[in-house]
Amino acid sequence: MAVIHSEAPPVHRPERRNFWFAVSSIALLLVTVWMFYADYNREWKAYQRQFRALELQRAAKKITELDAQYKSNRDLKKLQADLDVAKKDLSGRAADLEKAKAAIAESNRKFFLAESEWKVSKSYFDAFKFEVEEARKENRGVASAEAKYNKSKDRYEKAVLDLGEVNKEKDAAAALMKSLTGTSDDLQRKIASLTEQKTRLEKKVATIGPNAANEFRDRPVVDFMNPSIRVQQVQLANLQNDVNFMKIPKVDRCTTCHLAATEKGYDDLRQPFKSHSNIDLIAGATSRHPYDQFGCTTCHYGLDRATYFASAVHTPGSAKQEEEWEKQYHWELPEFSDTPMLPTVHAEAGCLKCHRQEVRVAGAPRLNRALDILEKGGCYGCHKMAGYESLRKSGPDLRHIGVKTSPTWAAQWVNDPRAYRPTTWMPRFFNLSNSSAPGEQVRNRVEIDAVVTYIFKHSAPLDLDPIPVRGDPGRGRQTVSERGCMGCHRIAESPAQRGTYGRDFGPALDRVGDKVNETWLYNWVKNPTKYFPESYMPDLRLTDQEAADVTAYLMTLHGPDPAPLAAVDASVLDSVTVEYLKARLTDRDAKAKMAAMSVEEKKLYLGDKLISRYGCFGCHRIEGYEKSLPIGTELTQEGSKLITRLDFGLIELEHTRQDWFFQKLKEPRIFDRGKVKTPQEKLKMPDFGFSDDEASHTVTLLLGLTKDEPLLEAKKILDEREAAIEEGRRLVQHRNCRGCHIVEGTGGSIRETIKDAGFYPPNLIGEGGKVQSDWLFAFLKAPAPIRPWLSVHMPTFGLADHEAAAISRYFAAVDGSLFPFESAPAGKLAAAHLADGKNLFTQFKCLQCHVVGAPGAQLSAADLAPNLLMAKTRLRRDWILKWLKDPQKEYPGTRMPSFFYSDGEPLMEDPDTKMLAIRDYLLTLGEEGGRSGSVAASRQAPPDKDGL
């Protein structure tokens, strides 16, 4: 009961409430509609609708094209004409058709009845069979059970027979029909197969185009039931996201918007509807990385489960794209993502976590180049990286530096390596952006001097042989340019970009005369490992005279004299020494101690401290620092480093990993800018002078060094053959075989210095299938001439047994040949057979090119071929046959003629027997010769009584 005081304020009166109820209810209705609208209008739904419209457009266009094609297809027209004839013919036999149809209908009717009877009788039969068995077991009511069983058995058997009869009748009726319509059916099938593409497209259009179901299922509000516009996802159990307290399987939803990414043929569309690039390698259904097993985020990163542009953490690839995205998507740098999407240019970073064991990752050129840069630059020397602990230090051994060069040169070098050699990988430590003020330059001079003094003081003496003969620079020049030095070195060439392998493997030799001591150079050229045991420089087996010539020539290579460095300021030397002493002593004691040190003692003390500070031992072997640990940040998981842990300092950079890495590589000390630091607090990473390209490639690599660990099922695990290939590739890389040879299709850098193609070092294509493994092992250990006319000599690399074996195994694995043993058949061969071979040998004039001894004067180098006496111990038996059959296939571009076959067609009678005969004859040659000391010698067939 309501009693309202007449003077009560309005809020107590009920009437107003109706108004507010109405208002709020309408508001609720509007808001509910808004809610459904917002759900209907999700970003990804719009994309799917767009894509669908595009698909219909494309299908319609394609159908029109196909129609036009079909119209002009003569085969199709003929088939259609034939079909018309057949149909007309059929229409003239309407009565027969009717009869056939009636026969089919009747047989079907009979079939249904017979089948039904069969089913029923069978069920009774099975049931009574069971009862009989039970009755017999219990020995009760056997007679009646048996009676029932027998009766049902009779009925069942009759039904089976009936069914058989009816089936026969059915077949007969079908045959009758077929005899009438067979031709036209056939023709129709042929036509359908020709127009199959169009049919498929039409079906597609019917499915996704506007039809009754589609009109309904995607409407707002009812689209919860079975929409065709839905989130597309793929669950990847083997690839996981590390969410810090556990690992969860990835669930990639990228194709919700990127609908055509896994299909071929959409390259002309704009994102998000573009096909993935290189779709036969990645993302295609038949590729090696199909989408349903790998998803997208394992390479591209970003948030896998997201369905919005922003929440997927897309990263723009350039400043321009960033602007576009800011306008179009209100894109902002994401704040809460530890794994933002990589810019597309760095997508190869994702390869690394599965393909670590490979030397070269197929399809990832950026990554491969970055791995080369890593090895040449020696990043692992200062920055610990898992997998690189056992790799040789990237710089030369300094333990005997005193016999090689002078402290003056060394000081200039340390001050600015690229002033002496622009293509060096040695970085610059001094006078960089955080230490170029005039006062600091004086300090730098002191530091350089201290380091050089220390290293030279601790340089052990080395017994060098004096140069025995006088060297001729002219001859030396010829030797250098012809003997093979140019496969690893350049002289007076300025490549556009510092290189890693091929002719950039060894240092450029310009100005070497300014640097080294002549005696040292002679000893080096004769035997590099005496000075630098781990050197990759091989032994070219030069005679003393040749070595002297080469030395004389190289010592003539000079460059402009650099400006001399300032003198060392003694007071600064003192103050810096005190600064380091104060780490352990009080100010007073430090000064006293310093005063008691001689100048050399101060330099040595300081040198030791500075080498520890700058980590010289990371790239160079220096006496006393054998056990020192790398000084830099560990990079094993640098790609996962939290952005909050990267010190951007006062530099205006976008807070992303790639921006920081790039900046750090280009100018490592920049993050000290604006900061107040004591000299010892300053950043110390040196400057490698990376080009934008080199730095960008290295950033790709760094982004790939993540803590993601895919399950073994997902990783690329090398099988035995692949592992052998990778180990071989590694050795081939480290010894720079590609400087001279083409290996697996790439290399042969030395060719650009050789005019005549006949003088190229051989292409090693098919080497594993061609040569015997033990021969190759022995050859690698101790090369001997195979093609004496070549001026380039295969060097002696000083390989360890296991290394030579690995290379031999590598070549065999590449070609799938047996390693290490292959048998030679026992037993003797028919004399006639060998005589045939010998005749053919003479007939084909093999020895004309395959010289034994000195070549004839009329032959050019391109025509010469290896000595056949080596065949027995060198070549594989079945390879010789392959070679004789088709030389171009085995070695494209060879001058060896095809005697026996041409394009697969035999050129004579019974070529195969003839080839066998030649091969067998060939293998009897060189019985006395062959490789001395090789394993092959013991495998020779025992000498026959006939002496063949």
């Binding site: 109820f21 709020s24 808001v31 509910t32 530890d338 939290l642």
Partner: protein, 358 residues
Amino acid sequence: MQIVKDIINWASAPVQFFTLSTLIFFAMLRFKGWVKPRNATLILVAALAFFFISMLDPNFRLIVVKADNIPIAFMLFIVGFFLWLSLKQAFENDARIARGEPPAEAVETKDKLMVWPHLVYTEFICLILLTVVLVVWSIVIQAPIEQPANPTDSPNPSKAPWYFLGLQEMLVYFDPWMAGVVLPGLIIVGLMAIPYIDTNPKGNGYYTFAERRWEIGLFLFGFIILWILLVVAGTFLRGPNWNFFGPYQYWDVHKVEPLVNIHLSEIFWVRMLHRAMPSFWLVRELPGLLIALFYVVALPPILARTLLKNFYNKLGFARYSVFVFLLLMMMSLPIKMYLRWAFNFKYLVNLSEFFFNI
């Protein structure tokens, strides 16, 4: 514009912020004209203007637009509204009582309405309106969900949920035991104790301030100043490393402020007596312990005879003891705050050996 921002940044520094707010608080209770609708509307408009004009500043906007902080912005206006509403009615009733009239509620309670349908109807309308607000909120603003927590990557600043930011602010001045356990416990105990120590029969069923000056004043001081204000400070004025940042200042993670804290024992032994600190904790902390004891044991009777004489007489010994203890505990917070700001004073009693300090 920058000058205005600088002034506001300055005024937001802890000392100024707290002092000015307390003064405004007392003024608000003393000068009652502000509750008049016209004045109140002006204050509201000024507050909204300040808020929206401040949104032009990117640093301010970053804090306010953060999805976690949106409820706090709402809360400020809601708290302000209800404070105004209640004080308006209280002051009006005080005026009426001063004139000898009965309070407004006495007139209103003559009206009667049935719960069903009238109250329920009103509640239903509120339900619908709240639903509308929530649906709009959920459509327009994304849930503030970040990525799964990384134990090696603590966010900086690591802030408690907004309703605990007052306590987190107390951590600056008090030992964690005190700020996190003892004082919050006493807050709850104090709230529970109110019915038992508040014997003032006035204000039953009607708003009044003049008749319940102490009760309301103390409670509002504790709630508005020591709770809400500190929540606001914790939300808007505390940044990385729990450093102070004005509302228009950029939250620089690298900001370093000189904050060396001194304990009473150091002041007493080293600075005043020029001696080394005694090694035994009891001797070392004796001055502090004595002061603390004095504060808790001796000060109540002293106050009973002087400032709080009326209370002692009204409440009786038991109630008064509880009341004065709770009051002294509550006041220890502002006292500690000022000691810290003025003298970098940290602990009265520094017993790090027992992980307990006062």
